[in-house]
Amino acid sequence: MTGEQRPCPDRHDALAELALGTLAGQERSDALTHVERCVGCARELAELSGVADDLLTLAPLASPPVGFELGVVERARAAGAVAAHRLPLRHSRRAWAFGHDRETLHDRAARHDRAARRPGWRLAAAAALAAAAAGAGAVLLTSRPAPRQLSPAAARPAMLASRLLHAGRVLGDVRVSVGPTPWLFMNVDDHDPGWRGQLVACEVTLADGSTRRLGTFRLADGRGSWGVPLDMPAAAVRVASLVSVHGTVLATARL
């Protein structure tokens, strides 16, 4: 029904879930591909997304604890957002920041989907890795830390982040801390079913064109997350790649 104004009848389920940010995997990919060439479905998605956003305003108002706003300001100061007029996250043309800045319809749906499917422990895990960065070697994260480890942004280093792409499909993301103790963190949460249980490697391509393998980890239960302190300047890392142990590049993130 491309070019017409009405949504395709067989897409209604997917459009609603896409609008709510809960469609995943191949269904999401198929729906997004369709929406980009179908005016009727694109309009339907826009309308449903608007309703989904508006629903959030129905949550009850509640007063936060005393000192809440001071806490925000102090954390903003510590992050440099106030004193140094500097943003905690660096933006570049190709970098994907975790916050939700300029985004296409595709980005919006992908972001919602990431949020819906991304286990929150990865945020805390990245922070835990930052804390460990000055010490030991690679950290394989297999368990979920306690809820209170939701890290304060003030303690979070400046960070580059980019999507991990395979043939145009977002499979996860890569984050690189650019602080004094740089580290790299790779999330894979939408991999090819054929990779299940596969041992994979993380490699980086540096500014001088050289490639280095940082370590290996296993994709278990459809997902894998892995991080390692860097013994090189974060700025030297241009590409982070998910590679099979045989050297086949499975996905890349340009930083």
Partner: protein, 196 residues
């Protein structure tokens, strides 16, 4: 789309959200304070409604404001109102926190119905945006229970159709249908009422 961008703050500061975000982008602490004061009840309320724990909700709400502050320079009002943007950040962080705790969602009705039942919408907000909010809440009340729960579980808790099917002990196809029909009814209700 509910647009709270021009909602006056309770402190009397009349600066628009866009102006405040522009100030925050260049490190204006006062702009940040006004912005936080303007939305802290809504952001904390949404976080609390989703995670159900005051301490975690405070973490989430503070983090949401910090994210907004960090990205104030790239906020694009043409894409969404500041409140929509901020609440979406809050919702995503709250879902992360909820999954971090491996907590099951509370009754979705707790989130979506307690607001209007308590009548806690500030008068100035009700005047500017509460009309749509009230209409949406009214429409939601008319949606069948199963559809309402399915939409709320997806919208507030980020639950997929499969997860909703498991939680509600219904077939996947039924979960998908409930999500689709519930959201479509809300859209139709708002759209019809917006038509002159």
């Amino acid at each position: 789309m509910v647009d709270l961008a021009r909602t006056p703050s309770s402190s009397g500061d009349e600066a628009s959200d866009e102006a405040l975000l522009a100030g925050m982008a260049v490190g204006d602490e006062r702009a940040g304070v006004v912005f936080v004061r303007r939305y802290q009840r809504r952001v904390y309320g949404l976080a609390l409604g989703i995670v159900g724990d005051p301490g975690t909700a405070e973490d989430v709400a503070q983090e949401a404001f910090l994210r907004a502050w960090a990205h104030a320079s790239v906020f694009d009002p043409r894409r969404a109102g500041a409140s929509t943007w901020l609440l979406t950040i809050t919702r995503n962080l709250a879902i992360d926190a909820l999954r971090l705790r491996r907590a099951e969602p509370t009754d979705p009705a707790d989130v979506v119905f307690s607001a209007q039942s308590r009548g806690d919408c500030p008068p100035e907000e009700a005047a500017l945006s509460g009309d749509l909010r009230a209409r949406l809440a009214g429409a939601l009340a008319q949606v069948p229970e199963g559809q309402r729960r399915a939409v709320a579980l997806a919208a507030f808790y980020g639950r997929s159709a499969k997860e909703i099917a498991d939680l509600e002990r219904i077939p996947l196809g039924t979960a998908k249908s409930r999500i689709r029909m519930g959201l479509a009814k809300l859209r139709d209700a708002v759209r019809v009422e917006e038509t002159p």
